[in-house]
Assembly symmetry: C2
Homo-oligomer: 471 residues x 2
Amino acid sequence: MSNALPSEGMDMVSRQLLRQLKDILGSDGLLSDPADLVGYAGDAAGGLPEVLPDVVVLPTQTEQISRILTLASAHRVPVYPRGAGTNLSGGVVPLEGGIVLCTVRMDRIRRLDPVDMYAVVEPGVVIEDLNRRAGEHGLLYPPDPGSVATATMGGSVAEGSGGLRGLKYGVTRDYVLGLEVVLADGRVVRVGGRTIKNVTGYDLVRLFVGSEGTLGVITEITVRLIPAPEASATFLATFDDLGRAGRAVADIVGAGVLPATLEIMDDYTLACVEEHAALGLPTDAAALLLIEVDGPRETVEIEAATVEEVCARAGARSVQRARDRAERDRLWAARRAALPALARRRPVTILEDITVPRSKVAEMLTFIREIAARYGLEIGTFGHAGDGNLHPTILVDEIDDRVEAAVRALVGRALALGGTLSGEHGIGMAKAPFLVEELGREGVALTSTIKRALDPLNILNPGKFPGRWRG
Amino acid sequence: MSNALPSEGMDMVSRQLLRQLKDILGSDGLLSDPADLVGYAGDAAGGLPEVLPDVVVLPTQTEQISRILTLASAHRVPVYPRGAGTNLSGGVVPLEGGIVLCTVRMDRIRRLDPVDMYAVVEPGVVIEDLNRRAGEHGLLYPPDPGSVATATMGGSVAEGSGGLRGLKYGVTRDYVLGLEVVLADGRVVRVGGRTIKNVTGYDLVRLFVGSEGTLGVITEITVRLIPAPEASATFLATFDDLGRAGRAVADIVGAGVLPATLEIMDDYTLACVEEHAALGLPTDAAALLLIEVDGPRETVEIEAATVEEVCARAGARSVQRARDRAERDRLWAARRAALPALARRRPVTILEDITVPRSKVAEMLTFIREIAARYGLEIGTFGHAGDGNLHPTILVDEIDDRVEAAVRALVGRALALGGTLSGEHGIGMAKAPFLVEELGREGVALTSTIKRALDPLNILNPGKFPGRWRG
């Protein structure tokens, strides 16, 4: 992170503003020593510039955030909201310097109601911590991004994150019932509520979910919880042919089974994971599927039989069921190791997030292979195949024309197949150059209209979508 | 409907504009004879003024709608979009006259993809027709408002409607993947797509879902379908005490069963239904619960046993399982007859749509009784108890102070219990006076900001929320 650039507007934060911020936060709620700023220059996305902010604020209350934004508006200083920074699109990079507003110190679970099955949390609560508490009541918060052990609820809601359970349980936007948000000018607004049915006015909740810190700072989140499934069964299916694995994905769902998780990993990723973690995976396979069905015990057994049968019929070399908790944990550890294992191979990791209709997964996988060959690139692919959400990951020493051409080709094909350029990682800086290809000029114009209406001074996360970042 | 008022701006539509509209639509796509306009003066909500539009347009293509809105913008003439007009909040009443834009002639199912499980429909497709087609492929479109047999997809999406299956399957907003929308100035924008995971830019899909025709005209809808459940079991549970029925609702869900449907009907409603339809319901009971569990056959049997046991433990007088299709249909006919049966009792029907957290259902039911007694009003209550979504229905000869005081008390209590004033019927005219009580001044201001940004001339459904209608 020593390569973080000083921001263009290095002196955006005047001595006067710094003093005012200290008055709000106290000296332990503010970082301005350059050595302390380095950790706030970027996020987990690779291949993107990092930029040092002028100051980092660590508020503990909504009222402080309101005052910070009022000040920032008065001084016209950019504010970059962030959580733990595990996001994968450069969304939190403080491109124009100014203030990074990090909500990790707001980490209380304010309420967990096991009868009405909802939780009220502060934005800095770690996703896994919420699930630990929910689990004590036999409940589950389903959204499950790869980074659950460190990612915060605030960041996850702002990014609209997806994860491993999307196929059966949906994504973050499906679980947020209500929000408290501080708007760009410091006003505090509460939207939504605690009930699932609520059509009072516009869907302001989902306006903020996935808005990537460009419309407001999320300061409280009410989420729906569901009864945790009684049982589960986990499978590792091995294939000698990538396309065949892709077709098995569509066949499983076509057979009426909606697995909680249906993940794919290609041979390249598999080799990296095995080298990294030595879990005893079959490195001579062309692809793996990791499948988990869950629900009432009896249903799980019926669906488990269907999964085994469909995989065999689709030409799987083997289908192996995890016999116990330890084996299941080993399989999931392998899946969660995919990105870190790939990222160790080369200095630069370009992680894509394309999503296609499920029936096009096999075609997309084949196309990724063609692109790797055409441009002489190493590309490992893993992802949420059941959702059609694939993460082809390009590994290079540095970004060059080949990388850019490959990314453009992958995005173009995903859109041509009726898909999207981002299933769950968001736009940030990484995908901003492609926004218009998916939304069209009218869609980008509408996006800009909303941004201007809510943040007319453009102080919230400026320089990202729908702004001027052009890669 | 002979009591429909002429609109304030009766001559909003000039001869020139009328000629231009005829050029776009042809003579069979436009109604301007006063006798033909009467059917477009109101909707299914009771106790609200109806207003005659100047002209009704019946487009068949998106491009026509784009030209109509371009013209309306140029002439500053209001446009009131509508489908079949089954909505229950006065949302489609053309308060300021002008143009009613009715999309019922756009009624084609453009695509139904059984592999990727989505459908692309025009706004005039009737919900039940989509489900008939989906059923041929073993699929289901779950949102199920009471008016499925006539309500259109466009109206249902614009209202964000809920219905009988909300508890287990969610509501309309959970099933819309993509939209084509014509904006106020005639621009056509496509938002969302076909995949469940999609975080490219703001959630523009849900910005329009439930926007009640105030932000754009929906011209194409892509919805997610799910595999139809294999089996179901339907129960009628009878209670001698309303509060006990309310508690049984929370107990069923607390026992880990999420019924597809969990409906309540009080004794007053019960008597009306029985008088109306003579279905052999137990008119001496204080309340009925109608419960349906669905899913894989084995799971259904397990859940059915739990439902019977929990109801018995909660003090049900009897729990009766529908033995066959005919008995099940009879029970559902009773439920769907609730509103029409109540509405026949008195000239004016005031239907509320309050929603409270599930654990507060018993308390809310008791409070409704108190209010009926306090103001000497006849109130029948039915609704989606599992969602906490209750429809207390006030039946009077004419609206007076007692009615207004009662409505205010019901809304106030619902909000105090952590609920919402509208679970599924929307704001329209009926709930507009209460908007600020739920959203607060900041929330209403944010709503207005969005409205102004998307419809700066205020030509789309003007006079409704967040506008000036004040009851």
